[in-house]
């Protein structure tokens, strides 16, 4: 199982499909947070098996377990009657399980043919046999019905063509199971039609296709079997023929809002606007307009990739804005630098605290005071005592637990790291706060603490935008909700209309032109 080379196996052709893949009682936790709990299902050859659910329901985690990227904490996989232990994607490949992930795994500098046969190099003594490779490529392309040139650099292809390269790689290995995670998310309308045809032909040829998708109509038109996940648990597995979009949405919801949220204290609807976004367009954002009032918590919901974070960064002036204006407290925000935005009272909690929020190797103190060092320094000289006092107060207020303010933030739990970002923001005393995924990867206790902080900041007059993939969170906190899709704000929900059903219906609704 370890010294495999990927040769096209003449004995395992598409006409002799593999057996069932049985997933039994699989569970997976990430840092104490359960991502999958006790999930069992059977994936049959020759069928398209769709996995659906809200963001964070565990679909991708399950897909990664099947493709060997993640090892489950509990439970077993059985393939063709044999127990299957996958320690890496490479081992999964050797079993004929291949993944086409959200992020494409092609090498831009190599040619199409080289990418297709990557890792299964057709070579003698280390030298690639180019003619042989091209010959096999042509055969394969004919079989798949793709018109790709083998000698073009893969990096110069469109996303859809790059995806074809990945699919050809799957075909070249006679994959018995193909896991596709959001394959059409990056594709245009007619490209996804082509992709659908490929998925169907893969199934016809006897492969099992595991399709993870946000697009319900795509799921309904392609899948034979549909498994719905919610909060890492399996809700049900049904035949696609009996399902409708409504019944699928119902399956993905099915739970009332818990009391994990602080009581809402609605702001004054006549309060002055602190942020006015007018016809704003930027990369990933088109023509967004809305108003945020003093003390208001505005939720922005939508699927991953709908343009929520892009909108946040466009407002924060971190990305180039192509059209439209942002007015902060009545005055237009110009230029593009986070430095200026923060100076004007606009703060951002970025979506990924490790990459965009914290200096992981540095101390708690340095991380907290970074944005407003001017408050604890004179003429550029840091007043150490004043800084320590300020940071210590902020840590108390945000309930950050650490062994001291000299501790490296990499040693803190996810919840404490996130609260630390709030300590930094509170020091900025912003009039507008954009919190992008404020509780991602945070334990339940810290979640509540962060909710309390957000509500308290709003009560003190800060206008807050909460962006979250957890619908429950958006609905539990926000006074008003905007739903985004394809970079646009497509719905504004208030009062009675602010419920999961309405948000999901808007977020999942498909536009014909997409």
């Amino acid at each position: 199982m370890s010294d495999q080379t990927f040769v096209e196996d003449p004995h395992r052709t598409a006409d002799t499909p593999g057996g069932d893949l049985v997933v039994a009682g699989v569970s997976k936790r990430f840092g104490g947070v359960p991502a999958l709990s006790d999930v069992s299902l059977t994936i049959e050859p020759g069928k398209v098996h769709a996995l659906i659910g809200e963001n964070g329901a565990g679909k991708s985690t399950l897909g990664k377990i099947i493709s060997g990227v993640i090892t489950p904490d509990e439970g077993t996989l059985t393939f063709e009657g044999q127990p299957l232990v996958l320690r890496s994607p490479r081992e999964a490949l050797a079993q004929g399980i291949i993944t086409i992930a959200q992020e494409l795994a092609i090498v831009p500098g190599l040619t199409v043919a080289e990418n297709v046969y990557l890792g299964s190099q057709i070579a003698t003594g280390g030298l690639v046999r180019r003619r042989e490779m091209r010959h096999r490529f042509r055969e394969l392309a004919n079989r798949a019905g793709f018109a790709l040139s083998p000698d073009v650099r893969a990096g110069s292809l469109s996303t859809a063509d790059q995806q074809k390269v990945e699919i050809m790689r799957a075909l070249s290995r006679n994959a018995s199971i193909v896991v596709m995670d959001e394959p059409s998310a990056a594709l245009s309308g007619h490209e996804s039609a082509a992709l659908h045809e490929i998925i169907r032909s893969l199934a016809r040829r006897g492969s099992a296709v595991v399709l993870i998708s946000h697009f319900l109509s795509e799921v309904l038109s392609l899948a034979d079997t549909i498994t719905t996940l919610r909060d890492g648990r399996l809700v049900r597995t049904i035949e696609a023929s009996g399902a409708t979009e409504d019944s699928l949405i119902e399956g993905m919801l099915g739970r009332s809002l818990s009391s994990a949220f602080p009581e809402k204290r609605l702001g004054d609807p006549e309060a002055p606007a602190v942020l006015e976004v007018d016809h704003l367009s930027a990369p990933g954002v088109s023509d967004c307009s809305f108003v945020l009032r003093k003390g208001e918590i505005l939720g922005i919901a939508g699927l991953v990739g709908a343009g929520r974070s892009e909108l946040a960064r466009a407002i924060f002036r971190d990305t180039k804005v192509s059209a439209g204006t942002v007015r902060l407290g009545g005055a237009e925000l110009t230029g593009h630098s986070p430095h200026r935005s923060i100076g004007r009272g606009l703060a951002l909690i970025p979506e990924s605290r490790k990459e965009m929020g914290l200096m992981m190797g540095r101390s708690v103190r340095e991380n907290v005071s970074l944005s407003r060092l001017d408050l604890v320094s004179r003429l550029g000289w840091i007043a150490s005592i004043r800084e320590r006092r300020t940071v210590s107060e902020l840590m108390k207020k945000t309930t950050v637990k650490s062994t001291g303010m000299g501790q490296s933030v990499s040693m803190l739990s996810g919840g404490n790291q996130q609260k630390l970002l709030f300590a930094r923001i509170i020091m900025c005393a912003p009039s507008v706060l954009i919190a992008d995924e404020p509780t991602r990867g945070v334990d339940v206790g810290s979640k509540r603490a962060i909710y309390d902080l957000l509500v308290e900041m709003a009560h003190e007059g800060t206008g807050i935008i909460v962006i979250s993939s957890e619908l429950e969170e958006v609905l539990g906190l926000a006074h008003r909700v905007l739903v985004m899709r394809h970079g646009r704000i497509i719905a504004e929900l208030t009062g009675q209309d602010m419920n999961e059903q309405a948000v999901l219906a808007a977020a999942f609704a498909e536009t014909s032109g997409a």
């Binding site: 924060f316 971190d318 630098s337 986070p338 430095h339 935005s341 923060i342 100076g343 951002l348 970025p350 990459e355 965009m356 929020g357 914290l358 200096m359 992981m360 190797g361 540095r362 101390s363 340095e366 005071s369 970074l370 944005s371 060092l373 001017d374 320094s377 550029g380 000289w381 840091i382 150490s384 320590r388 637990k401 650490s402 062994t403 001291g404 303010m405 000299g406 501790q407 490296s408 990499s410 040693m411 739990s413 930094r424 900025c428």
Partner: protein, 338 residues
């Protein structure tokens, strides 16, 4: 870094039970390596040399080492800021060479003050250009400064017309680096002052924090409102300025200059000193005083092997191995943090 004592008190006072003790232990060990780091091997080497070699501990020898290392120390001190800010400056050797010939040409005919000012100004200017290319055009710092070192080297040849510049020891220019105070030459005093100022700049000022933040996580720093580009430009400018200062100190000390002096050998010695001092090549971590120890450590290896009559080739091998160990420890420390 300089606030180590209060931080330690923090750590002792509060409850450490939350995180796993093993990880805390490993990180503390690494933390203390970063803090004490090179100081321990340096002291060891110092003691060994004192015992083995009679002339080593003589004041003259020790002051000589410092005097010889003055330029390298200044350049490495400023180079530390560049590395901590997430950059690298390989042009310092060439800049040093350019500054020596510019200062030399001017000192031969004009006032010493003008020569000194011009030498430093040339360095600052080169540094500014480096910084702007790296930040505005977003060209990799390693490549930028490597390319710049060719440009500057060519300019230095042009300025000196390829000649060796020799100055007379009578002028005021000679005094710049050779004036004695408490039997220590002014070059050493200036170097000490420069290191102290840069050390405080890195640890005690808002600019220093911005330098650390820019190298620690540039994206996070930018989103937190740090002007990362400006910070890096200033760091490069300081590095260039230090190379200019080093060049001026050395021509005043030695009274001769040519375009080829310094060069890539100096750039690499500087970089080696910084890295041996425990400054992370990935940025976000480092200290000026440890760089100073690192440079002196390398100098002691050279001085010691000369005094003990060791074949110079061993000196090079030992230096290379030490460098590998320093870089290895650094990347190991970074992986542990993940």
């Amino acid at each position: 870094m300089t606030n180590q004592a209060p931080d330690l008190i923090d750590a002792i006072e509060s409850d450490a039970s939350e995180s796993s003790t093993l990880r805390v232990g490993a990180t503390k060990l690494l933390g203390s390596w970063r803090t004490a780091g090179i100081a321990i091997p340096f002291l060891l080497l110092f003691v060994i040399l004192s015992i083995w070699s009679g002339p080593f501990l003589h004041t003259t020898n020790l002051i000589n080492i410092l005097d010889q290392q003055a330029a390298t120390l200044c350049i490495a001190a400023a180079g530390t800021l560049v590395l901590v800010a997430g950059g690298i400056d390989l042009s310092v050797g060439a800049t040093y060479g350019l500054a020596t010939v510019v200062a030399g040409e001017i000192a031969a005919h004009h006032s010493p003050v003008l020569a000194i000012a011009a030498g430093i100004a040339v360095g600052l200017f080169v540094g500014l250009i480096n910084g702007l290319i790296v930040t505005v055009f977003k060209i990799n710092a390693l490549i930028t400064t490597l390319a710049m070192s060719f440009v500057i080297g060519g300019l230095a040849l042009k300025v000196s017309a390829g000649n060796l510049i020799v100055l007379s020891p009578s002028g005021g220019f000679f005094k710049f680096a050779n004036a004695q105070f408490l039997t220590v030459p002014s070059a050493v005093w200036m170097t000490i002052l420069f290191i102290v100022v840069l050390g405080l700049l890195l640890t005690r000022t808002t600019f220093g924090r911005y330098v650390v933040a820019s190298g620690g996580n540039a994206e996070a720093a930018r989103l937190a409102g740090v002007r990362v580009n400006m910070t890096r430009v200033i760091a490069f400018t300081l590095s260039g300025g230090a190379a200019g200062l080093g060049g001026v100190i050395d021509i005043s000390r030695l009274l001769s200059a040519q375009a080829a002096s310094g060069g890539s050998a100096l750039s690499f010695t500087v970089l080696a000193g910084i890295v041996v001092g425990g400054t992370s090549i990935a940025g976000g971590e480092g200290s000026v005083w440890r760089t100073a120890i690192g440079v002196l450590f390398i100098a002691l290896i050279g001085n010691g092997s000369d005094l003990l009559g060791v074949d110079p080739l061993y000196k090079q091998i030992v230096l290379g191995l030490i460098l590998l160990i320093a870089v290895g420890l650094d990347s190991w420390a970074r992986q542990r943090r993940r």
